[in-house]
Homo-oligomer: 337 residues x 2
DNA sequence: CCTTCTTGTGATATCGATGCCAGAAATGGA
DNA sequence: TCCATTTCTGGCATCGATATCACAAGAAGG
């Protein structure tokens, strides 16, 4: 690998001049410029990324941590963020944390070591310990959950979509459509987003003075299999609601399939609304109604916030809250129709 | 950010000694060792990645280039590869090339600049120009397609699964099950893997002396929408085969859905076999029969080959060929049953 | 007691690119 | 023609960690 020194020798100039010419910064005569470019080409020169980032304290890389590499929801975030990063010559280092806290902390450590200039952290359950790590690091980190509840008034940014509101909307819609016996398959309430979503359901039901039937209430772990199990349990107990709100599409698809296996018609026998609007939700017949979680938008916002910190040195904390939208498809056609 | 110099000053020792202590390489007295570790802790020291890789000429990062961020198939590869890389302290930088040649070349350039120590390149249509770039770079690159047909006898490794054989298997199975009027929805034959898959179909049909009905032959672009269009065309032309081999799951799902929309029963009216065995293929009712493409295994092999080159300096080219497997589900239940 | 070997430590050069400054060359204006 | 700019170029220090070497101190052995 050729260096600027070898180019300098080749053209009988100093490394400084070569450096200036190659970066087109500072003065360099046209004649020498051409000689240098030609020599660089000839010697197959490529700048050393390590040397450059040592000197500049810039790597042009962003660590992007996701908890589940198989959830298409995160693909959308990556896509949205990449579009922004691309435009600034930044690259994503994808890190699969498997939702494990120690893996997340390890990546924060990597960030400190200069593996990247900033980080987007998508965490199932970011907690106090984790947050103090971020705070202590004083490095640009954007979180994609709502951490206001943790009472943190600190320097990292948040972009999140209100999952509470999403589930609330779905539930409200079903109620307004005339459904009364409404069930809920939730995600793990040990983690924050699971609790948020559940509260959305409770609030909507309470607002309409509808009783919550415990037999229609199940908790999964956001996986398809857990949705299947939850639905199978209801069927086995002979307690099937008229409509079902499910905390994500994967579980909703699991539930939908079990219903179909039991010859139930959707939405006539049971209406179903999922959440995330992943590609999966239009694979089935009927297609799945769902809550649009605007993952690409989250990714774009997160990347933009990060770029602001990195390129323009913004320091005050910003939080962006997005509002989910209901996407109605055949799995929840209104009763009133 | 503290450096080893500041630690050295703090404990009244030389930077050399500090460096040795922190890396536990070379001599260092127990007493000083403890002092140094304590000071590093106190000053919140983190080693500089850039400085280290400038000196060591090692980044511990791998560039992983995929053409489509929405195709779960590739995430399986990443998953498999990450497992291997993790074990060696390596990280993946994910690069979304969108299947564009110039983006691939840009990433090869980045590899040369030392963005990473090696690269796994998943390309729709790696071609001669691209290959000579890799060859010229003399850097560790593993490709995940079959490039023997390009007559390259060079130093980069390949791991691939024989898509030709996969389609051939699916087709053979249908023939053996008693189907005679068999259709095929293929991928873009402008790219290599599209051609390979198509040849598999042709070969199986020829081997069984079955006529190929042009009305049952459609070409898509591997997207779900293109599968829908292809199927809709056949239905519109009133030319629907008894069984259908589809070049990937996405298109197969599109076809399946259009069939269902036209009240056709699957597999009674038309049997369908897809390819890839992505998560999507078990979402539908009936579940989709498919060809297992062992993406995690491909990823693991690719990562292993790369590690061999990087860590042990292997230089001779290796190619690993995997054999696909048929995964039978309800969308293609045998006629003979 | 002197030599040999093992430990422990520090000075120095290096990886490759860049920023800053000094000085040389070229240009322009009076 | 002379001085003041502007343009151009090279020297040197620097980013932070590490490898090599030299040397000092202590242990072991005759």
């Amino acid at each position: 690998m050729a260096t600027i020194y070898e180019i300098a020798q080749e053209v009988n100039l100093s490394p400084s001049t070569v450096s200036r010419a190659l970066r087109k910064s500072g003065y360099c005569s046209q004649k020498n410029y051409e000689k240098i470019i030609a020599a660089a080409e000839r010697l197959n020169y490529v700048p050393s990324h390590a040397a450059r980032s040592l000197k500049n304290k810039r790597t042009n890389k962003i660590l992007f941590c996701i908890p589940d590499i198989y959830n298409p929801f995160y693909f959308g975030m990556i896509k949205g963020a990449s579009d922004i990063f691309d435009a600034h010559g930044y690259y994503c280092i994808l890190c699969h944390t498997r939702g494990e806290l120690d893996m997340e902390i390890r990546m924060l450590q990597n960030l400190k070591e200069g593996y990247g200039d900033g980080m987007i952290l998508v965490s199932f359950d970011f907690n106090q310990q984790n947050i103090s790590q971020v705070n202590a690091s004083q490095l640009p980190v954007v979180l994609t959950n709502n951490y206001q509840s943790l009472g943190v008034e600190d320097h990292f940014d948040c972009v999140y979509i209100d999952t509470f509101e999403g589930i609330w909307m779905a539930c409200k819609y079903l109620i307004e459509s005339g459904y009364r016996r409404i069930g809920y398959i939730g995600g793990d309430t040990a983690i924050q987003t699971g609790r948020e979503r559940f509260s959305g359901f409770i609030k909507a039901m309470n607002e309409s003075n509808l009783a919550i039937d415990q037999r229609y209430l199940k908790e999964g772990d956001f996986s398809r299999a857990s949705g299947e199990i939850a639905m199978a349990e209801m069927i086995a107990a002979n307690a099937v609601p008229d409509a079902l709100v499910v905390a994500n599409d994967l579980m909703a698809l699991g539930a939908l399939k079990v219903c179909q296996q039991h010859q139930m018609n959707i939405p006539e026998d049971i209406a179903i609304i999922g959440m995330d609007n992943t590609d999966l939700s239009t694979c089935t017949t009927p297609e799945l109604s769902t809550i649009v979680m605007k993952e690409e938008e989250i990714g774009r916002h997160a990347a933009t916030l990060l770029m602001e910190r990195i390129l323009h040195g913004r320091t005050e904390k910003r939080t962006i809250r997005l509002t989910p939208e209901l996407c109605l498809r055949d799995s929840s056609r209104s009763l009133t129709k």
